[in-house]
Symmetry: C2
Subunit: 282 residues, 2 copies
């Protein structure tokens, strides 16, 4: 396997960043998790927009290089991968050594890939089973401390939530106890035929798959509401599922031990997601 | 310059960690900033204790290797440094690639050093001037989201506060608006002869220098109170100063444009700090 580091393709085992890189020292870096289907990246424009938004939130709005997409393409090609997981990271680079960043940024760009077979119709799903989910005691970092829309290498909040939850996925709530998101996913639930998901005015990452699923629901005539919900709302739901770039649409088997499962709405959205990927990429 | 990376001394320009190291990908790492005076590390035991506490908070209580101190010593010796800044980092290492960490941890240990002349009596101070400080709009990450006692590579909260404050140091407050700490320092102020500092039940890192200064104040018969304070309390103070391992005791020139400055209490504590270093290290 070869990775793309700082403009060059290098063997994976040699792919490294300086210990003085701010991405290492402070987690001072933006990233995107991408997925390639049939050789092209799903929703590239949306991911590129969010990467730019993260960089803007970090005070380095001009940091995304113009050839970002080319670097991803080169990495996929160098490894002969058409179906792949891709992690694209962009750090503030090596600077003076002070905590306050220099205004001039020479970013370090890293592209990591690994094979990830398409789930989809007739394929193997990335996840083995519907997710066991547990509400974490760890609170979601508030937007006032770290902008929720920024996807950064400061990911310990999610790591600690996963450790705490001892489940496939941890559900994180905000300071008021409202459901925010999973450690690495957005959460949806169905009640009386209506799809619900936490609104983006809470500390919720605007997931690309979240947005796609909302559009698919609108196309299918499934009503969607966003709002502030307690974990009990999810536990009492008729169906629940998680979304992210690698899981796509993953049913929630249980939340805090209470059985929920997918169902007809989850199935319809998963089928429409598969059809969308099929239409666009194959 | 040579750094210590994963058990080996390497030239600084080659010192790197894998792009798959969790310390890079998630900021999933503990660190300590240390200071060597006269060839030995100031308050090693306190820093080692806090490093273990950080690792425990990150769910890897056994991660600190027994030869940590030896690695720091070797790095100082390899560079012929007696007066130095040292950054000791310990990451969760390279794992499976999942967000949920594996329980078996093979940590990556990194030691970075740079020359840092002793400030002290007759020496040049590390900082050029008393600090200009500004209260940041960025809120300190609450303890419920990331344990405040843990010193980790998730340091974007401080980075964003520094960018926001446009000052030598940013003052961060908690969700209730109470003063927590500086982006990279603890804060003290003097009012009517009594020294005040935010209590550790707020989201405050238990600074090693903070603790030493409290002990020095007790020795000097200066009353110390901890509590919950607003920025206005600091702005109205007779004196104010910041503490950390590199700055030692640094007076606050201004907070939000209001002049404060050091004064007799700050001077006495700085002198006693210098005397302590002199007694222990020279």
């Amino acid at each position: 396997m070869r990775y793309h580091v700082d403009g060059r393709l290098v063997p994976a085992e040699e792919a490294a960043v300086s210990v003085r890189d701010r991405g290492f020292q402070y987690g001072d870096a933006a990233f995107e998790t991408l997925r390639a289907y049939g050789g092209t990246v799903f929703e590239w424009d949306a991911h590129a927009d969010r990467l730019r938004e993260t960089c803007a939130a970090l005070g380095m709005p001009e940091a995304v290089p113009e050839d970002c997409r080319a670097r991803v393409r080169e990495t996929l090609a160098a490894n002969g991968l058409a179906e792949a997981y891709v992690r694209l990271s962009l750090t503030r680079g090596v600077q003076s050594g002070k905590l306050t960043p220099d205004s001039a940024v020479d970013p370090t760009v890293v592209v990591i890939v690994k094979p990830l077979p398409r789930g989809g119709p007739g394929g193997d799903s990335v996840w083995d089973d519907p997710a066991g989910v547990a509400t974490a005691d760890v609170q979601r970092v508030p937007d006032a401390a770290l902008p929720a829309r920024a996807k950064t290498h400061n990911y310990l909040n999610g790591v600690l939530a996963r450790i705490d939850a001892e489940a496939d996925e941890a559900l994180l709530c905000d300071a008021e106890g409202h459901v925010a998101e999973g450690a690495a996913s957005n959460v949806f639930f169905v009640r009386d035929g209506t799809l619900h998901t936490p609104a983006l005015d809470g500390p919720v990452l605007p997931g690309v798959t979240r947005r796609v699923v909302r559009e698919l629901a609108a196309d299918a005539g499934i009503p969607v509401e966003t709002g502030a919900y307690d974990p009990a709302h999810v536990r009492r739901a008729d169906e629940a599922f998680l979304t992210n770039t690698t899981w796509e649409v993953r049913p929630v088997a249980t939340l805090d031990g209470e059985e929920i499962g997918g169902g007809p709405v989850t199935d319809r959205l998963a089928e429409r997601f598969d059809a969308l990927v099929e239409r666009r990429h194959y």
